[in-house]
């Protein structure tokens, strides 16, 4: 929780990781991919304030104690949502699996939400694993990385028949939230892998699932915004927006926030630190302090109040994940309720 100027913020980190990307976990023969992946992540860290940068060695493998201190003790986070990313073709035990997350989280009851994942190319066996994970970890959400490599395939679309089969099964198992993370490869490679049209199809056909598009579809913010305007069950995950722009490019940050507030609205935006890419502390504190600049070029963007920041930093995610919020951190009754699905419309 975080308090500033008399306002109290309940903080849900909607997107964070506990990974091992050190050489001891690299798959022999795929070392260049494992190394390339973590170096790419590390470059993103470079967009945060210099005093928060880590060495590549620390970044490859941080400890449980590091995570607890950075996220909860220093980072103001009340509840954190683990988003697994497997990458088993490159990392022997996976980059950041449901099991690894849970093994750590079980030592800290109440602090974590365990999302799991699936890959529609894993067939019946993958469905069985999904069932087991939901039963064992109580997962209410899945994280899907559509650019994952799998047995010679370079990715998939959410609109593939195999993906629909998994989405239907996940829904039946009680999954509510689908976090979608786009990457540079899909089949076929001549298409734009970052295109979010497949999320649009899936969101239409699975109206009872919520689709949280991570890093707001970056680098396709425009496609994401057009879709989110039309689909009431599509949400904006702010990982990378805050971490990658708020410090390094504050004017772009303001414009992207302005566009998201206009097209998507504050009821459907979720904070995620993307830890360990960026520590939550500076992101939470900076976001609470942030105001839309006063210049002409920002004049027609919606303004974000303390109420809106409370929704984005925690209350919206708490609603999606049924996380109990202490009374003093909830909004007063006359402030409206966050993220009602019927409210989605073109803000104007």
């Amino acid at each position: 929780m975080y308090e500033k100027d008399g306002e109290k913020y309940f903080v849900v980190d909607g997107h964070m990781h506990y990974w091992n990307a050190a050489p001891d976990n690299w798959v022999p023969g795929a070392e260049q991919y494992a190394k390339g992946w973590i170096e790419c992540f590390h470059a993103y860290m470079g967009l945060g304030p210099p005093k928060t940068h880590w060495t590549i060695e620390h970044f490859q493998k941080y400890s449980e104690d590091d995570l607890m201190k950075d996220v909860f003790e220093d980072g103001h986070v009340d509840v954190a949502v683990f988003q697994p990313t497997y990458l088993l073709e490159w990392y022997k035990e996976g980059f950041n699996t449901t099991e690894r997350n849970a093994a750590m989280g079980e030592k800290h009851p109440g602090k974590f939400v365990y999302n799991t994942r699936f890959d529609p190319r894993d067939g019946d066996e993958g469905l069985e694993t999904l069932r087991r994970n939901v039963a064992r970890y109580g997962s209410k959400g899945v994280k899907l990385y559509t650019a994952e490599w799998n047995n010679g395939s370079r990715g998939y679309k959410l609109s593939d028949p195999g993906a629909y089969r998994y989405l239907a099964a996940a829904q039946e198992l009680g999954i509510k939230n689908v976090h979608v993370h786009k990457g540079p490869t899909i089949w076929p490679l001549d298409k734009d892998a970052f295109d979010v049209a497949d999320v649009d199809h899936a969101a239409t056909d699975f109206p009872d699932l919520n689709f949280i598009v991570e890093h707001v579809g970056l680098p396709r913010i425009e496609d994401f915004c057009f879709m989110a305007t039309q689909e009431p069950n599509v949400y904006a995950g702010l990982a990378v927006v805050i971490g990658g722009l708020m410090h390094a490019r504050p004017r772009f940050f303001a414009k992207v926030m302005g566009e998201l507030l206009f097209w998507v609205g504050e009821d459907k935006m979720l904070f995620g630190s993307d830890y360990a890419i960026w520590e939550p502390k500076w992101q939470v504190e900076g976001f609470v302090d942030w105001e839309m600049p006063d210049a002409e070029e920002f004049s027609d963007y919606p303004r974000l109040t303390a109420t809106g920041k409370k929704k984005i930093l925690g209350l919206n995610a708490a609603k999606l994940y049924d996380i109990e919020v202490p009374a003093e951190y909830q909004l007063p009754a006359d402030a409206g309720t966050p993220a009602a699905r019927d409210d989605a419309q073109l803000v104007d």
Partner: protein, 265 residues
């Protein structure tokens, strides 16, 4: 393909790091400045992607390229390498060209594919079903939308009436780099691009916009521009983290009129 073989040798005329090129390499660098990152709609030279550019005594253009990450999208990377190859081959005196993308997961397939001049489908055997013309057109349409915002903003700042924008032609906009750039992208896309063409068009069809459609169109144009430019700013930040050397002909973006380019921390 081994990048190491592209190192300087006797007889090469190299352009110096961060410089604009000199001697025999200058026309090559000028040719590379016409090659754009199709996604960011900026020249690969400005973006800092060119690290070596030389012409051998035998007339071989030798160029090395780099990208912000190891995992930048392979289709866009292929387009840049292929376009660089074509641009170099069009320079008088160039008999052959060798373009080497370095430090990228698909470098071998891309470099080999472009050198063989056999197309994207061939370079990524079994992984692609078509060439990249459709992808290029998709991003040209985005570039046209973004350019529309730039030109309209200049017009509105100059006192133009927002309600009358739909009645203006491209030639009604005051001459500026932004207007030239928009006209060039429209021509490349194959939609009306002359001074007498409507200023506001549907980039998918080239048809003039209905006045009722203008407000939403302008909103989309601005959003598209912000998306592309934000992406570009992240790419520049990532490149700087990955490499601490300037590229040949590297320069900050000229598209932002609001000073964002000076903000890199």
């Amino acid at each position: 393909m081994t990048a190491a073989t592209a190192g300087p040798a006797t007889g090469l005329q190299l352009a110096g790091p961060g410089g604009s090129g000199s001697g025999a390499a200058a026309p090559l660098l000028a040719a590379l400045a016409t090659v754009r990152d199709p996604e960011l709609d900026e020249p690969i030279t400005d973006l800092g992607f060119v690290t070596a550019c030389a012409l051998t005594a035998a007339g071989v253009a030798e160029v090395r390229l780099r990208l912000p990450t190891y995992f930048c999208a392979p289709n866009f990377a292929y387009l840049m390498v292929a376009d660089a190859y074509d641009a170099l081959m069009a320079v008088p005196g160039v008999r052959s060209a060798r373009v080497v993308l370095e430090d990228h997961f698909a470098a071998e397939a891309i470099n080999g594919g472009v050198a063989a001049q056999a197309g994207f489908v061939h370079a990524f055997d079994g992984e692609a079903v078509g060439e990249l013309h459709g992808l290029r057109a998709d991003f040209l349409r985005k570039a046209v939308l973004a350019g529309t915002d730039r030109v309209c903003r200049e017009l509105l700042a100059g006192g133009a009436d927002r309600a009358r924008l739909h009645a203006l032609t491209l030639g009604d906009a005051p001459p500026s780099p932004a207007r030239d750039r928009l006209a060039q992208r429209r021509a490349e896309l194959g939609v009306p691009a002359g001074d007498d063409a409507p200023l506001l068009i549907d980039p998918a069809t080239g048809a003039a916009l209905d006045p009722d459609a203008v407000p939403l169109h302008l909103r989309r144009a601005r959003l598209t521009r912000i998306s592309i430019e934000s992406n570009g700013s992240i790419c520049r930040g990532m490149l700087r983290h990955r490499y601490d050397t300037a590229g040949l002909g590297e320069s900050p973006p000229v598209t932002c009129h609001h000073g964002d380019e000076g903000e890199d921390r």
